[in-house]
Amino acid sequence: MNPPGDLERGVEAALFAAEKPMTAEQLSAHLQGADVREALASLREHYEGRGVQLVQRGRTWHFETASDLAHLLRREREEVRRLSRAATEVLAIVAYHEPVSRAEIEAIRGVQTAKGTLDVLMEAGWVRVVGRREVPGRPVIYATTPDFLVHFGLASRKELPGIDELRAAGLLDPVDDEMIVAALAGDDADEDATEIDDEDDVGLADGDESA
């Protein structure tokens, strides 16, 4: 390979550093008025087949990355993110009650649902808009997608456990069940404190009579 001449190097550097494509005249002005045409031709040849090419568009010249490599200049990065608790609740409500409107979701959750929450579920591909409810205001209604079933390994929504099953699995017990038991224990109460309570009045009455 022949080492490039000073002029060619100058043109190469100037085009590389330029913020906009340059005409031969502009380049020439940068390079003490030298005739840059030959240098441009030689540079173009040099860059042929490389990852970067010297291209001419109309009267201007510039470097650009080879078009067959465009796919390398983009990269997709997946970030694994856990669904927030609120989003999980909304997803569950959609799954159990679909199709539902946002107002219905809010009514069931008892709290306002941020718009972003449904967006996240739609981005995840688990929820989609399936139409509008024919009531005043025509609210948008949501349902789960086939992807939802795939992700959760369900053949159909019918496989979601029913309320009775949830209760049997202890999923409907109060969260702080244990704490209540602990509190009662701390009070010296036996487990069947409630039964005794029912008999209090009777007991007292008995006492009165026995007196």
């Binding site: 993110r81 949830l166 008995d206 007196a211």
Partner: protein
């Protein structure tokens, strides 16, 4: 590299041309003219040392001290207001000089030679950094002498979220929602108590048959007929109710109460009418 530095009034002075004389704040103009914009006494010392035109390792400290003091004295003669640290340095150098010239017998620690050596080292250090700074600034700098690509296409990274949620979390979340929606039932547990009415009836009926003082505790029921009176909570309730009942009977003049010592046994008897 393009530097987008927005000058902030406080820092803008750091970007002056460093070859130019330092901007002189109006009031101290005379001083700054005189001391030529030195950055403190060490800077002035370094400049004087350089005027000796020898390697900084070989400068004569005594000569340097003299030069400095002459300099400061001249400034004072011109009635220039010198910054305090210049004068502190002058004082210290005067002390150093006298110590260097004194006979060696009663030398303190560190010795004046040691102090002189340290001063020399400090001048060398500062001199070295000043030179290094100049060489650094004189390098081929990006954006001034060498340039990166003027119009890079840019590399794009498209972020995509891979949302995760487990079946259990889903079902559990639904359970939570359902739980929240169940009507809240608040239950106040009833305690085993002896009501005031029954205590009143019991105490007055028992007073009726008693002739002498009876301790209040003896009024409490002991029987096990239907109710477990040994339950400490129930006994506490019965005692409290009976006490209140006795007070009530005393108020209406049907009973007398006596307690000999604080927290001692409470005794009750009927008022004979």
């Amino acid at each position: 590299m393009t530097m987008d530095l927005v000058p902030d009034p406080e820092t803008v002075s750091a970007f002056e041309d460093w070859d130019a004389p330092l901007a002189a704040p109006g009031d101290d103009a005379a001083l700054y003219l005189e001391v030529d914009g030195w950055e403190g006494p060490l800077d002035l010392l370094l400049d004087l040392a350089r005027r000796q035109k020898v390697d900084l390792r070989q400068i004569s400290i005594l000569q340097l001290v003299d030069q400095y003091i002459v300099y400061i004295e001249r400034a004072e003669a011109l009635r220039l207001e010198l910054a305090a640290d210049y004068l502190v340095m002058a004082a210290w150098l005067a002390y150093l000089k006298s110590a260097l010239l004194l006979p060696k017998d009663e030398q303190e620690d560190p010795s004046p030679e040691e102090l002189a050596l340290r001063l020399q080292l400090r001048l060398q250090r500062l001199g070295a950094m000043r030179e290094a700074a100049a060489r650094l600034m004189g390098r081929d700098r990006l954006g001034r002498d060498v340039f990166t690509r003027g119009a890079p296409e840019g590399l794009r990274i498209d972020r995509k979220n891979a949302w995760q949620c487990e079946w259990f979390d889903l079902v559990h979340a639904y359970g939570q929602v359902q739980m929240r929606n169940q009507p809240a039932v608040h239950m106040v547990r009833e305690r085993m108590v002896m009501t005031l009415e029954s205590a009143l009836a019991r105490v007055s009926s028992m007073l009726g048959v008693a002739l002498d003082w009876i301790e209040l505790r003896d009024f409490l029921p002991t029987g096990r007929e239907g109710t477990d009176w040994s339950d400490p909570r129930l006994r506490r309730s019965a005692l409290a109710s009976s006490f209140v009942a006795t007070l009530e009977l005393a108020r209406i003049g049907k009973a007398q109460l006596a307690q000999e010592v604080t927290f001692g046994p409470l005794r009750v008897r009927a008022v004979k009418t």
